[in-house]
Structure formats: C-alpha cells, structure tokens
C-alpha cells in the first residue's frame, strides 16, 4: 500500500491580480522504502508538491492522502500531530532551532511525541551516531558546519521514526564533498534502516542516487522513471 497517494493535485497562487498555477493535476504514489527524487527546473512545482504531501501547503483542488488519511479533512492541530508522527522534514537551509544543541534538536520531535526519557536518550544517541555526529551532541547549530547542521536536520527528521522523510533541496547549500556524504548517509538510512525519502532537487548527485526519478515541468509530471 502507498504511504502517500496524490490525486489530481492542483495548487494556484495568487500574485496580485494574476493567478499562477504552480501544480496542474499531479497524480503520484509513494510506497514504503522508496528513495525518490522529484526533479525539474525552478518553478516546475516540485517544492509545492512536496509541501502539499507534507501538509504544509494545501491543494487548491485534488487530494493528498498519507496512510490513507485525506490531509484536507484534518484540522491544523490534527495535521500537526500527523506530521509529528509520520513525516520528517529536511529543509534546504537546515532550519535548526538555534538555541538548542545538536542533541536537543534531534530530541525535539521525540519530546513532542512524548517518548520516555530513557528511550529518548537511547534513540537520539543512536541516531546522531548513525548520521556521523557522535561527540558533537552538545554543540549549538552556530558551532557546526553547514554539512554537520544538515546532518543534525536529518537526525531530527528520522529520530521520530517517520513513515516518510521529505527533503526539500537538502544539498543546495552544501559543497560537493559534503553533499556526497549526506547523500550517502540518506541512502544508507534508506537501505539499512528502511527510511522512505522523497526529495525535491536539481542536484545531479541526488538524482544519481535516487531509485525513482519524477520529472516535473510546468506543474505537470513529465516522466516518472523507476530504476
């Protein structure tokens, strides 16, 4: 069964008096264990599609279902809870909480999920180790490099054991070496820990690593290739 099911997704933005249709009738299913890149030029609608899947943005028409639940039927609070339990996010510009340490950032979601302290500690330490940040637990984001920050962001996204991690241009701000190791990390998490990833990206390295590539042009899916 699909984790995500997108049907007829259309999203319009109003800019002044002009209506811009960013996404035009997209149908898409994401299954468990996928490592999927949504690619396309700027303005092709890939980020909007990703935001709609994550419940951060709402469709003008069409439906997005996660675990069979239509996101359009949920209240803001219920949507929050669904994101908390089922979806992890990795953003282009890391977006860590600056006042929290690497450990606390990764722990944040677990705190909100109400995971017990002992279990929380075990999982956070394990996750940080998995993303290669062992020994840096007590550093604040400002004391970490961009790549390290993005690893913390990945750790935060996966610590809560989501069904799906949505990553919006995760390598855009990183140099190539750092990008490679981050991609390798995510692929490893996908291969060995069963974490499902969906990217929006135009980084060739990510595309190379992806198991499935969905190309969008002008808000429509142009091709959908599973390797």
């Amino acid at each position: 069964m699909s984790i995500v099911s997108v049907r007829g997704l259309t999203r319009d933005y109003v800019q002044g008096s002009i209506v811009v249709r960013a996404v035009r009738g997209v149908d898409l299913d994401i299954k468990d264990g996928e490592f999927t890149a949504i690619i396309g030029p700027s303005g092709s609608g890939k980020t909007t599609t990703l935001n709609c899947i994550g419940g951060l943005d709402s469709p003008t028409s069409g439906t997005v279902s996660v675990d069979g639940t239509d996101l359009g039927s949920l209240s803001a609070g219920a949507l929050s809870d669904l994101r908390l339990a089922r979806i992890g996010f990795v953003f282009q510009s890391y977006n860590l909480i600056p006042v929290l340490t690497a450990y606390e950032n990764a722990e944040f979601v677990l705190r909100l999920q109400g995971v017990a302290a002992k279990e929380r500690r075990r999982r956070v330490m394990q996750t940080l180790e998995n993303v290669g940040l062992k020994g840096m637990e007590d550093r604040r984001p400002s004391e970490l490099s961009g790549g390290q920050q993005q690893r913390v962001a990945v750790a935060r996204a996966i610590a809560g054991r989501p069904a799906l991690v949505l990553a919006d241009e995760p390598t855009a701000n990183l140099d190539s070496t750092t990008s490679d190791s981050l991609i390798a990390l995510m692929r490893d998490l996908n291969d060995n820990h069963g974490v499902t990833f969906v990217f929006s990206t135009h980084d060739e390295r990510v595309i190379r690593a992806a198991k499935r590539v969905v190309r969008m042009v002008d808000g429509e899916i142009e091709s959908d290739i599973t390797k």
């Binding site: 935001n51 994550g54 951060l56 943005d57 803001a76 929050s80 809870d81 994101r83 977006n95 909480i97």
Partner: protein, 411 residues
C-alpha cells in the same frame, strides 16, 4: 511543556539587552507601584488608626435608642459590670466606657455651651491618642478629682488656662440643676476643629456624679486584637452575646462614610497599578511582537515538524512570563528598597503643611510613612504576571496562526 519552557527561557536570552530593558522597565514600574502602594497603605493605615481606632474604635456598644438622638437617658446600665465582662472577653485590647452631657461651662470671664465627655483616662489612653495631643498641662488623673481637659480654642474663648477653674452647669437626669467646679489640668490641640473648639473632657465618674447617672454610660468603645474585618465582626458577635439588649456595631456600621473613605484604598491601588502597567504592557507587547516576528521562519519550522498551534502559544507565553519573572525579581529588590525607605524615612510634607491636615475633623500627621502589606506586594506581582500574559496574547496568537509554508519562506 517543561521542554517548551526551557526553549522559551533560552529564547529570552537571545536578545539579552532588549529583554533586560523590557524587564527593567517593568521592574521600575513595579518599584514605583510598590512605593506608591506602600505610601497609600501608610496613609490609609494612618487614617484607619486616627479615624477608626482613635474615634470609633473597632466596635461600639450603645443603648439601641442612643445613636442619632443622643438622649441622655438612653444609657447602658450597670456599666461597670458590662465593662468588666467585656474586659474578660478574649481578643479585646481596650474597653473604654464614655458618657456625654450638654453643659454650660463658665469661668469668671464668660461661659459657653459644651458637650462634656466623661472618660476613664487610663482606658481612653489605650484607645485614642488624645492624651498625646496635650499642648499644656497634664492628662486627666486616673482617679476622679474634678480635673478637666479643654480644647485649646475653647480655653481661649473662656479666657482660662491650666490652673484656672470652671463651673459646669447642666440639667441632671432627675431634672435638677447639676453644677460643679472643675480645675483645668490640660489643654489639647488636635487640629480637629470640633474638639479644639468645644472639647471638654472630664473623668467618667465626675460626669456620672454631675449628671446623677449612677453606674450608667452612653457608649462603650472597644479595640480588638485582630483589626481585620473578620476579626472585628467576630468580636462584635462575642460582645453581642454578652450584651444581648445593647446595640453592638462595628466601626463600618457606626460610620459608613468612614468605611467608604477607607475602601478607596484598594481603588487607588488599582488605579496606580493600572496606570503603571499599562505603560509596561506596551513594552512587553513590543518585545514579544518583535521576538515573534524576527523568528517567523523558526516558528514555521516548529509548526512543520509537528508542534501544535496551542503549544506554540504556550511557548510564546512562557517567554513573556519569564520576562515577568525577571522583572519581578528585579522589581522586588528595587521595590523592597523603596518600601524600606518609605517605612523608615517616610515622606515629609511638613514643609507644605504646618501641622498635618485635617479631614472630616480627623488630623493626620504631615509625615507619611509607608506601610507594607503582603497584599500590596502580591497585588503588584500579580499585576506583573497579568501584564506579561495579556501583553503577549496577541503576539502568541499571531505566531500560532502562521501558515508553516509561508513562515518557511520568510527570511
């Protein structure tokens, strides 16, 4: 929630200077409030002491017919026994029987009508400060010896001084003409016009003899150990049980205008608090609004990774409350110092007023000392917290209404 509080606390220190200035502003407001409230409480405590304790007492006992008409015959009988019984009551610290009688008071040089007040000097001293208002001579002797203490204006009018004697003529209770010579032993200056112009105090026993009152008095005034309303009301109930036929009234029943006047205290306190914290509220509002606006994207991230809107509101409110806590800590120190100053040194208005000011025939000293009430401090602290929460409500609500996707795009 503790986690949210911890984030809120750390967020507060991201703009250390701004937070401290805002908290400092609140602390200064709090200091002013504490000082003003202490001063106000001091004035009202002074007024309570002078208007209530020294004039009305906490509780007054009369013949039910006496108040209003003040007819000489409407007395409390067997006064000695009643007073002794009230003395024995738990919780009374002063029991002062009084009698009154209109009389013609005259010396060699003139005469005038006065209201003679018969008091027991020792008991009266425990209640009122009249004995401290002597400007010449001595207070009445504890044993009746035909001494009389006059208001200084009355003495001027009669052209008498300490050492002179006066004749009092009155109609006694049997219709006969009671008359007696009294020796002026002291003059009082109270600032209360009526007392200064017509006050004439003699020993209760002397007045009872002059009026042929026997063992009757017109009024028994009491002070209780507990000056709270509950304490006084309870005392009045106890007294009523011992004097079933008498009219027992608490001071606020005896004098509703005094009650109204003294009840202004809380209104004045609230007014002061309201004014000070309205200003502080703008500071808090501004700080919290800035704090929320400059962190729009961060708040968007928190919403995106699953923080419910309600908990986001809680987080912002926590931040504001912590601001209030810091303000309270600073304010308690500064305000405590201000209060201590008020209590020890007071505010001296004697440069503006010669001998205190009289209100409604009551004289207040021109130096006002602070009176620190736990209630006053609590009220101020409560005002800080209410301000912190109320002023942050709008910023918090705004933060919770952010669309994550919009917030995330925010730079």
């Amino acid at each position: 929630m503790r986690f949210l509080a911890s984030i809120a606390w750390r967020n507060l220190w991201r703009q250390k200077r701004r937070s401290l200035i805002t908290a400092g502003g609140m602390a200064v407001g709090m200091t002013l409030c504490m000082a003003l409230i202490a001063l106000m409480d001091g004035m009202f405590a002074d007024m309570f002491r002078v208007m209530v304790e020294q004039q009305l007492g906490h509780v007054q006992v009369h013949n039910p017919e006496y108040p209003g008409k003040r007819v000489m015959y409407d007395t409390i009988e067997d006064a000695s026994a009643v007073v002794a019984s009230l003395d024995a009551l738990d919780g009374t610290v002063a029991v002062a029987p009084r009698a009154f009688g209109a009389a013609l008071l005259g010396g060699e040089a003139g005469s005038t009508g006065v209201q003679l007040q018969g008091i027991e000097p020792e008991r009266e001293s425990a209640l009122s400060s009249l004995s401290e208002r002597l400007v010449h001579g001595t207070w009445l002797a504890n044993e009746p010896d035909h001494g009389i203490v006059l208001g200084y204006r009355l003495a001027e009018k009669l052209h008498v001084d300490v050492g002179d004697s006066l004749v009092a003529v009155t109609q006694a209770t049997d219709g006969s003409m009671g008359n007696e010579i009294y020796d002026v032993v002291g003059l009082i200056q109270t600032g209360a016009a009526q007392l200064d112009r017509t006050g004439a105090l003699i020993h209760l026993a002397d007045l009872q003899e002059l009026l042929l009152l026997g063992d009757q008095v017109h009024e028994i005034t009491l002070l209780g150990a507990d000056d709270s309303r509950e304490g006084i009301a309870a005392l009045a109930t106890d007294i009523q049980a011992r004097t079933p036929d008498a009219l027992v009234q608490t001071w606020w029943q005896t004098s509703p205008p005094t009650d109204q006047m003294l009840s202004l205290r809380d209104s004045v306190s609230f007014l002061v608090l309201g004014a000070a914290f309205l200003v502080a509220a703008f500071g808090v509002f501004n700080t919290m609004m800035m704090s929320v606006l400059e962190r729009t994207r961060e708040l968007g991230v928190l919403r995106a990774i699953g923080l419910r809107p309600g908990r986001l509101i809680a987080m912002v409110l926590f931040e504001s409350i912590f601001l209030g806590v810091i303000a309270t800590a600073m304010g308690l120190v500064l305000g405590g110092l201000a209060d201590a100053w008020m209590v020890v040194y007071g505010i001296d208005l004697s440069g503006y007023m010669e001998s205190g000011f009289a209100y409604n025939g009551v004289v207040l000293e021109p130096i006002f000392y602070g009176h620190v009430r736990p209630g006053g401090i609590l009220l101020t602290v409560a005002a800080v917290f209410i301000t912190s929460v109320v002023a942050a409500l709008l910023p918090a609500w705004r933060a919770s209404r952010l669309e994550p996707v919009v917030a995330l795009r925010h730079d």
